[in-house]
């Protein structure tokens, strides 16, 4: 029983990270109807920036916040320069450019920081708490992702800019007619998604170690989370991320072993797409032809 509880709690800790990635994917999906395959590598690259800042002697928390700001600006800049011309292009063009960005970030990280594995510091003390149920870092990761999610909720719900972003995503044409600069809102959304990705990267790096390929598996878990929750529902995505985290840990510990974790995730993705494409909390999409 103790062991089961431990697995569940550990699953919630990693689930929080998957939830952030899933949320970042949903934010971009909602406003552009595209799945950002570069999301993981963007977070990975931001984590390297944080590593460099800390390496140069900056204390952890200033480096953390500076990285979030840099990631936000970088994401918005990327939308303005690379993705804006593709706003009305085909799925194929978008996916190819996303994949192009993914490997560009990957190789850029390798070029600048080499492929050797680096340890990334955790801001939390290195000890176990609650009778060894979980580590301080795991608790910290849950608190940090929880705070980010609450802040985002407040931002979208209670600020005029948040409302404008939602309007631009829901109905670009009408939003434009009431004076919202929809294209700017897209850039803002990309900035936010990049910032969330950066936080997820910095939270996961102490666990998996920092290297250019650290996010490829995590991206798949994030996808699965977003799909389970419903790709057009932010709350669903968060819930989906936690579900995947717990499921991954329980399946890994009791059913299939660690060898097949990615395969199990693939099966989950295919099953959701086949039997419940709208996810648990998403809307059914009815398309007019």
């Amino acid at each position: 029983m103790e062991a089961l509880l431990q697995q569940v709690v550990a699953g919630l800790a990693t689930g929080g990270i998957y939830a952030s990635i899933a949320l970042a994917l949903v934010m971009i999906y909602q406003s552009t109807h595209q799945i950002n395959f570069a999301q993981g590598e963007m977070g990975m690259f931001a984590t390297y920036i944080a590593w460099a800042l800390i390496h140069w002697g900056m204390p952890y928390w200033p480096a953390f916040f500076l990285t979030v700001v840099i990631a936000f600006l970088g994401g918005a800049f990327l939308q303005r320069t690379v993705l804006r011309p593709l706003e009305n292009a085909s799925h194929l063009a978008n996916i190819v450019v996303f994949v192009g960005l993914m490997i560009t970030f990957n190789s850029l990280a390798g070029l600048l920081f080499t492929y050797t594995i680096k340890t990334f510091p955790s801001p939390f003390p290195n000890r176990l708490i609650f009778d060894g149920l979980l580590s301080f870092h795991q608790l910290g990761a849950i608190v940090v992702t929880g705070t980010v999610l609450l802040l985002l909720f407040a931002f979208f719900k209670y600020t005029p800019v948040g409302l404008a972003i939602r309007a631009g995503a829901q109905n670009p044409l009408s939003a434009r007619l009431v004076g919202i600069r929809v294209s700017h809102m897209l850039a803002l959304g990309w900035g936010l998604a990049a910032a969330i990705g950066a936080i997820a990267g910095m939270m996961v790096a102490p666990i998996v170690f920092l290297e250019p390929n650290m996010m490829s598996g995590i991206l798949l878990y994030g996808f699965a989370g977003a799909l389970i929750g419903g790709i057009d529902n932010p709350w669903g995505a968060v819930a989906g991320g936690f579900i995947i985290g717990v499921l991954e840990n329980l399946l890994g510990a009791y059913v299939i072993g660690t060898e097949l974790k990615l395969t199990a995730t693939l099966m989950i993705i295919i099953a959701v797409l086949l039997f419940k494409p709208a996810g648990l909390f998403g809307q059914r999409i009815v398309k007019r032809v």
Binding site: F37, L86, M102, T104, G217, E259, L260, L274
Partner: protein, 332 residues
């Protein structure tokens, strides 16, 4: 506006000449090449087979796969296992590998046909990530040899042909490429090809015209898996070694990007893409380990904006630029 299509030769005759010339060059090439260059040329030919298949799927049928490296891996493993564990001659394993991939491709394609655009990309992305794990599984270790991989003996030229082993493998691969090319060209020109293109451009209209959309989508997926599987099977013989980590996500991604860079929806795009896949990483890896990927990434983004028709489009533009100059005087 000058008619850019006005050429000295009618299109079909020019095309026959071009194909004939390419065929002659490909047949004579090994005479001029060193042993290592022959190996690389063979890799270009077998990648071209895979890209022909992927191009049918992506370029002609409009489905997106980021996971065809998985079928390449399955084809390679089928051949390696049949040769090393069952003693079947290598040439007989290649059609078997193709058929295995056709079946797996159709099975994967049945759920995939319900997925549009980015969802299919997502599912195939997962496939590419998961397959190396499956290959490492303990359950299959008796055949796959786990992380160690399988060695395949290099075959010698049969019938006492005066060829080195590398030259023989080059012609062996060229034979399959020619077969693949002829089959694809005939298929795409006919009714099935028209249906594939119709589904890509207007799925709803195609369905209302009586095209069985899900049937063609599944079959195209299976066929592209067959092509990629045959290429993978050939690679097992040519490289003489298979291991789970040679078939990472990177391979799948380079297939997709190579066909975009080569030229989507054109037969030549596969060959150009294959040349890009072999030559560019080779040149760039002298700069640094990361450079090939950086070049891939930047090249594909630039191509998407400046020349969406890929290298084929670029070559055509230059060609038309040359051939227009004398004709433009008459047209103006």
């Amino acid at each position: 506006m000058p008619a850019s299509s006005s050429q000295a030769l009618p299109g079909s005759r020019r095309r026959t000449l071009l194909i004939g010339a390419t065929a002659v060059v490909l047949v004579l090439l090994p005479v001029l090449l060193t042993q290592y260059q022959t190996f690389q040329a063979t890799m270009i030919l077998l990648y071209a087979i895979a890209l022909l298949g992927l191009n049918m799927l992506v370029g002609y049928n409009g489905q997106i796969s980021i996971g065809h490296g998985a079928f390449f891996a399955i084809g390679a493993y089928v051949t390696a296992i049949l040769v090393s564990s069952f003693g079947i001659p290598y040439w007989a394993t290649i059609p078997i590998a193709g058929l295995v991939c056709l079946v797996i491709g159709i099975l994967f394609g049945i759920p995939a046909l319900r997925l549009e655009g980015h969802y299919l990309a997502l599912a195939t992305f997962g496939l590419a990530l998961a397959l190396p794990q499956i290959l490492k599984l303990h359950v299959f270790e008796a055949w796959t040899k786990g992380v160690v991989g399988i060695f395949v003996r290099k075959p010698k030229a049969p019938f006492g042909l005066p060829l080195t082993a590398d030259q023989w493998l080059y012609y062996f691969t060229l034979f399959f490429l020619a077969l693949a090319f002829l089959f694809a060209a005939n298929l795409l020109r006919g009714r099935i090809g028209q249906a594939m293109i119709a589904i890509r451009d207007q799925p709803a209209a195609a369905a209302s015209m009586g095209v069985n959309v899900s049937y063609y989508k599944t079959m195209t997926f299976g066929l592209s898996a067959l092509y990629t599987g045959v290429a993978g099977a050939l690679s097992a013989v040519v490289v003489q070694f298979v291991a789970p980590d040679s078939f990472s996500l990177h391979l799948s991604i380079s297939f997709l990007l190579a066909i975009v860079i080569g030229g989507l929806g054109t037969m030549w795009g596969a060959l150009f893409g294959a040349v890009f896949m072999v030559v560019v990483p080779n040149l760039a890896s002298e700069i640094s380990t990361a450079a090939p990927w950086a070049i891939y990434g930047v090249a594909v983004i630039i191509f998407m904006y400046v020349m969406p028709t890929g290298l084929v489009g670029l070559v055509r533009k230059i060609w038309n630029g040359f051939s227009r100059t004398p004709a433009a005087g008459g047209a103006a």
